[in-house]
Amino acid sequence: MDIFLAAGSSLFLLIGSFLCLSGGLGLLRFPDFYTRMHAVGVTETLATAMILIGLMLQSPDALVLLKLMVILIMTLFISPTASHALAHAALQNNLVPKLNKQNDNEEVTPSNP
């Protein structure tokens, strides 16, 4: 039994780490804000869940399990909400998505003091 738990936990952790890394890569390489947010928002939720589940399988007692559950639930709520709010706010404040390559110049000029 233990060996299954350990293996399962490792598997989950591995998947989580991979997702994490891919999300990070997306954050770094994607061209504009919305795509970057997409990369982060999608992977982050899943990666966090994976890693937390991996840890849950290792947890020694009930209290720890409970706390991990709390964290998981909170991330599941918070992460998409935050992403949504962020995108919403960005759109409302006239940040234009970069849809095609024609207007490739900076969509927002940094403020020059």
Partner: protein, 90 residues
């Protein structure tokens, strides 16, 4: 395995810092901070397990919370004229 996961999270944290530094828009920075916060939560829980003291999870919960609240705070106050001004220069 834990170590590998910690390493992965750590790398992503560095990436988030880079993005937070580069900008270019306000929202990129918020995104980076948000992501950084989530990853810190993960890092702390992983570290707690690695050191064999899972009591650390309390801190992770606080981090998740604080992260959420700072994002809300940023968004709530980013509708003020100070921020709009920046974006309307275009």
């Amino acid at each position: 395995m834990l170590i590998a996961a910690i390493l992965a999270v750590f790398i992503v944290m560095v990436i988030a810092i880079v993005r937070g530094f580069m900008g270019p828009t306000l929202y990129d920075r918020i995104l980076a901070v948000n992501m950084f916060g989530t990853k810190t939560v993960l890092l702390i829980s992983l570290l707690g397990f690695m050191m064999g003291r899972p009591e650390f999870l309390d801190i992770a919960i606080v981090y998740a919370l604080i992260n959420f609240i700072s994002v809300v705070g940023v968004l709530r106050y980013s509708d003020s004229s100070v921020f709009k001004h920046h974006n309307k220069q275009k």
